[in-house]
């Protein structure tokens, strides 16, 4: 899979790299070797494709959204990753990485999770293959995603609450990395987004690239042409990279990543790393980062736990710098409104993360011609969010 890697493997322009403790280098080398071998191995691809089809439910459909199309003034198409087993795109990556872990004969799996979707997808794949699964989750996220905690535990995973720092995804990732440094010989760390040290950003992108491959073909078949624009929400950025990568070479296709503006960029309470951050090193790679003038990582904020992360995948940093992808942002309130708009007008409850992409498209009424198609990656479903959204609505 060709992304935006330039020169040295694992670098996207200046971004990426392997800024990790020395103890982990051997494990990253081992993972790189296993992944490169798996990519050359038709049996691996066949097994993964089989699982994606018969277990995850791929290919996911492309759905025309007539009411949204009316509101925006062009043809809006939804790539239905919400219809995957476990309710989001995350399963594409976890099935791939669990197969890699089996190749490496690592019996123990760890993961970090924010919204809980990646944790659930990891716990699911571990249950399917009988691997031990430990998921690190910030205490604040546990509060807002109780349902997913119960799902993970029902699947046999151990959920470890993380009380350090901001008690969210960032700190869950720190804790998962600490576990990995300690148990590296027996354990594979299933990172859930296109972040972390090389080779994780490209492994996760490649496993998510199935979204772009399918949807490019589906749009071509449905409309006879390429979409005018492709839109996805960006936290760490895995669903966005997964769909963008198929269109990077199609210069006529505009690509938009939508970050979480939280309570507004000007308030400082947001998660818009690409828009309001500057380059820095966190969790093993160089990328855009929300940080103070002194280089301390700032807490992110978003109504959506899955976007509540102060960093972003290094390939996004590069795609921003070269101008191939335009990064926009949407506030908590706008995302909440879009959550209901999509539910009421199309009968689809989106995840709060995904609602950011919907909200941005809804604001672009008249931007595209009526004959244009705009493809939105509907990365996850909103079932996990209903209790939390109900709370917010009740408080207002």
């Amino acid at each position: 899979m060709a992304g935006a890697e330039l020169g040295r493997v694992g670098r996207y322009g200046p971004y990426g790299g392997r800024y990790v403790p020395e103890t982990l280098i051997a494990a990253l080398d081992e993972l790189t070797e296993a992944y490169d071998a798996a990519q050359q191995d038709p049996a691996f691809q066949q097994q993964l494709d089989g699982l994606l089809q018969s277990y995850a439910g791929r290919p996911t459909p492309l759905t025309e959204a007539p009411s949204l199309s009316e509101q925006v003034g062009c043809s809006v198409l939804l790539k239905r990753e919400d219809l995957n087993h476990t309710g989001a795109h995350k399963i594409n990556n976890t099935l791939g990485q669990i197969l890699l872990a089996r190749r490496m004969r690592k019996p123990r799996i760890i993961a970090e999770t924010g919204a809980g979707q990646h944790g659930v997808a990891t716990a699911t794949a571990c249950a399917r293959f009988g691997l031990e699964c430990v998921v690190y989750m910030g205490e604040e996220d546990i509060e807002r995603q109780r349902l997913n905690v119960f799902r993970m535990e029902s699947l046999g995973a151990t959920v470890v609450p993380v009380g350090s720092g901001t008690r969210t995804l960032k700190d869950a990732t720190n804790e998962a990395l600490r576990d990995w440094v300690t148990n590296v010989t027996t354990t594979h760390y299933v990172i859930g987004s296109v972040v972390g040290p090389d080779p994780f950003p490209r492994i996760v992108r490649d496993f998510q690239a199935v979204i772009g491959r399918e949807s490019r073909e589906q749009v071509l078949r449905l409309t006879g042409g390429l979409p005018a624009a492709v839109v996805a929400c960006v936290g760490g950025g895995s669903n966005a990279m997964g769909i963008f990568v198929a269109f990077l070479e199609d210069r006529e296709v505009q690509l938009f990543g939508v970050e979480a503006a939280g309570e507004g960029i000007a308030t400082g309470r947001h998660a818009a790393s690409l828009i309001a951050g500057r380059p820095g090193v966190l969790h093993g790679s160089l990328s855009y980062l929300l940080q103070t003038d002194d280089g301390q990582v700032l807490p992110a904020h978003s109504v959506s736990a899955g976007l509540d992360y102060p960093g972003v995948g290094p390939e996004h940093a590069y795609l921003k710098d070269i101008g191939r992808v335009a990064y926009e942002s949407v506030t908590d309130d706008e995302a909440l409104a879009a959550f209901f708009t999509l539910a009421r007008s199309e009968g689809i409850l989106p995840a709060l993360e995904t609602a950011h992409a919907i909200a941005w498209v809804l604001q672009q009424s008249g931007r595209w011609r009526r004959s244009d198609a705009v493809l939105i990656n509907l990365s996850g479903r909103g079932d996990k969010d209903v209790a939390y959204v109900a709370d917010i609505v009740r408080r207002r």
Binding site: Y19, V20, P21, G165, D294
Partner: protein
């Protein structure tokens, strides 16, 4: 100060046939003035080098004790610039190694940091998230500077990687005694001995061992294997109880190393 001060300190230690005592403290913990007092106490109680931790919000190589100390230091307003001013004010006559994570230093400006650190009395730089060969631009800049680029070797560092790691190493080699993050849990076994032999076979630089050394007895036990012993979490923990408690541990560690000096390897051939 510069890497030369590190080299001459090792020279002195060799002449005295002593194993170096290398305490670690987090700059600004528990607060700036107590931290300043603690640095001077370490020197008075027989430290040969001091590692000063530059606080970072996301210390992923550290266990709970040092994590908490860096968070408290940050809450008290400590920064990279603040740590340098603290080191300068301490006016220590022994070599100081700045220990930390890349991001605050990149944010400060690498070359500016190196210049200001040298002026403040820092002799070496140890970055937990800059493994050898992963960012040649940064590594060359530190290598060519007056600061020593101190390398970490882990139990997972294999022979071919050991060569890469040691190729640009300066000052001394820091051998991580076990898998995991910093913290007082100890495992001194035959594996550590084999790791020491591998490093010895690959470099003539002095060798310090850290991670999990918490008592005078443990310091004595590892002193037979190496040229220096690093003590971090245990000391930070004691500092939480007050400077006199930390002083007692320093005295215990110094006594442990004195008693162990018979078994001092002295094996450094240079």
């Amino acid at each position: 100060m510069s890497e030369h001060s590190i080299d001459s300190q090792w020279q002195r230690l060799r002449e005295q046939r002593r194993t170096a005592l290398i305490p670690y403290l987090t700059a600004g913990y528990p607060n700036r003035s107590a931290s300043l007092e603690a640095l001077r106490m370490l020197e008075a109680e027989g430290a040969d080098f001091i590692e000063v931790g530059l606080p970072f919000s996301d210390p992923l190589a550290d266990g709970p004790i040092i994590q908490q100390s860096t968070q408290i230091a940050l809450n008290g307003g400590m920064t990279a610039a603040g740590a340098l001013s603290l080191i300068r004010e301490a006016g220590l006559s022994l070599p100081v190694v700045a220990f930390g994570y890349l991001n605050p230093i990149l944010s400060y400006g690498l070359e500016r940091f190196i210049a200001h650190a040298g002026e403040a009395g820092v002799a070496g730089l140890l970055l937990t998230d800059l493994p050898a060969g992963e960012d040649l631009g940064i590594e060359r800049t530190v290598y060519a500077s007056p600061l020593a680029l101190i390398r970490l070797v882990a139990p997972t560092t294999d022979d071919s990687r050991l060569k890469v790691t040691l190729a640009g190493a300066q000052g001394f080699v820091y051998l991580i005694s076990r898998l995991g993050v910093t913290g007082p849990q100890t495992t001194i076994g035959p594996q550590l001995q084999r790791a020491v032999e591998r490093v010895r076979g690959a470099t003539r630089l002095p060798l310090a061992i850290g991670f999990g050394i918490a008592t005078g007895e443990q310091a004595r036990a590892v002193s037979g294997l190496c040229d220096g012993v690093v003590v971090g979490s245990a000391l930070v923990n004691r500092l939480n109880q007050g400077i006199e408690s930390a002083r007692e541990l320093m005295q215990e560690l110094a006594a442990g190393l004195r008693n162990g000096s018979d078994s001092l390897c002295g094996s450094n051939p240079t």
